[in-house]
Symmetry: C2
Subunit: 313 residues, 2 copies
């Protein structure tokens, strides 16, 4: 098969061996694969996949059609359209996934566009609901609100009944946030725009002082991105006085079982709202998979929504 392969810290679209599946896995012909900041880190050598995962093909999410399945997969998945998150290897013509982590999709979106959903919506869902304990009526701040996860987080936080504020540095970003129905603010306005019950930090340490200032009593800060740098100077008295909770997490190293739990929640809580058109993925660009190298170099440019690789063209 062809895949986006890491060679000498760059991406080359070239041939690789097909994945081989185990008893409980599905083999999928990929339609689309999303690009994530983590992929860039991996290409740069900074974020190797967990043990046992293909290390020279990046890609954490995909959509596609099941073409084979292991002998212990309990139901028939052949020819079904699915999406899913994996710990690596999604940016290839073929990918494998544990059957419990596959999420069946339908015709609401072209199959390739479902690939913009799994990582962004799973990350945003986990951060808002599981870690951030979002409630209707909460005032929620989302920094880095224009990327894939940020736009998914705005959609999900609004869906949960929250009043949502999004942060962007660019005029284009602020406009996009407003178009999603959220309040748009610049980073310098964070400290004075609170109190926020929940803050999703997607940018990094630079925001932490403002975040703590703007946090409400019993507020939560969930850290899921540090693209602008991980170091934060924190005044612990603020955490005490606000009775705050600061949490962080990554999805990638979680077990198959934990990912299955999340997949199930996406299926029951989020898919119905996508299928009935309440929200959907914001896609900034679709690149043919053969142009993966270009997609990687364009990824860091200012954009709104997800960048995906199309394996059907």
């Amino acid at each position: 098969m062809n895949a986006a392969k890491i060679i000498d810290k760059t991406i080359l679209f070239t041939t690789c061996p097909d994945p081989t599946i185990s008893d409980e896995e599905l083999l999928v012909r990929v339609a689309g694969a999303g690009l994530n900041a983590a992929d860039l880190l991996q290409v740069g050598g900074f974020y190797p996949p967990p043990n046992g995962v293909v290390s020279d093909i990046p890609g954490l999410e995909f959509s596609g059609t099941v073409v084979a399945q292991g002998s212990k997969v309990p139901t028939n998945w052949i020819n079904r359209p699915i999406m899913g998150i994996v710990a690596g290897g999604a940016q290839a013509e073929m990918v494998k996934i544990h059957f419990s982590n596959a999420i069946e999709v339908d015709q609401t979106l072209p199959l390739v566009k479902w690939s913009a959903i799994p990582e962004a919506y799973t990350t945003a869902y986990d951060a808002l609901f599981s870690q951030g304990e979002i409630s209707a009526g909460d005032r929620v701040l989302i920094t880095g609100a224009t990327g894939g996860v940020g736009t998914a987080a705005i959609a999900l936080a609004k869906f949960a009944g929250a009043t949502v504020f999004g942060v962007s540095r660019t005029d284009e970003g602020l406009l996009a946030i407003e178009r999603q129905g959220a309040m748009a603010i610049s980073p310098s306005q964070i400290a004075t725009s609170g109190p926020f019950d929940l803050i999703l930090e997607l940018v990094g340490g630079v925001n932490m002082a403002s975040n703590l200032q703007a946090l409400s009593l019993l507020g939560r800060i969930v850290i899921i991105g540090v693209g602008a740098g991980p170091k934060a100077e924190v005044d612990l008295r603020m955490i005490m006085a606000k009775r705050a909770t600061v949490r962080g997490s990554t999805l990638r190293p979680r077990s198959v079982g934990e990912k299955a739990q999340i997949a199930q929640r996406i299926q029951s809580h989020i898919l119905p709202a996508i299928k009935d058109g309440t929200f959907g993925p914001l896609i900034s660009a679709v690149y043919p998979a053969s142009k993966a190298a270009l997609a990687y170099s364009d990824f860091s440019k200012s954009k709104v929504g997800k960048l995906i690789l199309d394996f059907s063209i």
Copy 2:
């Protein structure tokens, strides 16, 4: 009445007006009152009590005998021995408390010694159980483990079935930690003595980097003291990679209702173990209340356990 009164940022034992009680309050003749780091901060002008609380008499905890009660207190408290936490004013011959926050005590300890319990055990209980979600089998680290809260935390964490590590800078402190049945380590050993499921941070920002290094996956850090300084430099990637939770809180500004909840938990979970001798307060020194000024100046010296003021001598 006489009280430890704040005059020009020092303590003088002198006369003050008696407190007047409202419909739902108890008036208490104080037997003993504990000293806390927060009192020193208040004397120094850095930690004023919440609105509506006497501001020139420090003291957050006491034991004593009820001598009067408001007209809406539902049961008869007169002559009953109690202990409790208040937002200020406990270091006086008379103190008032909302009836829902009073905890009845018995003869297990001399009445004056019950005053070593409320703030320390409430703080440690809240941090370990409510915020830290301690479980049997957890490996728990307690920094600043020789003070009132630290010694209470060791006792409670062991009671909860945890394996407990205490941190002290002094040989005397390390010995005291071992005598309580915990593993004793110095601050420089924190980073390499993990993984810890739960860390109670009583010292401040200086430990945060080591704490994060020693934290287990899904571990919790609960910050309840910053005596050595509140500034911490934190690597947010560590919080993400460990899927960590960092929490902080203070008890003092909580509402009467929240304090009543805590009092009830102390009553049902902790008092039985004190009464049957499973653990009790570690008391470093008892000063006559008239020597309050000396007690304050001695407080910051190295010690193991609580320092209390005795109002009966």
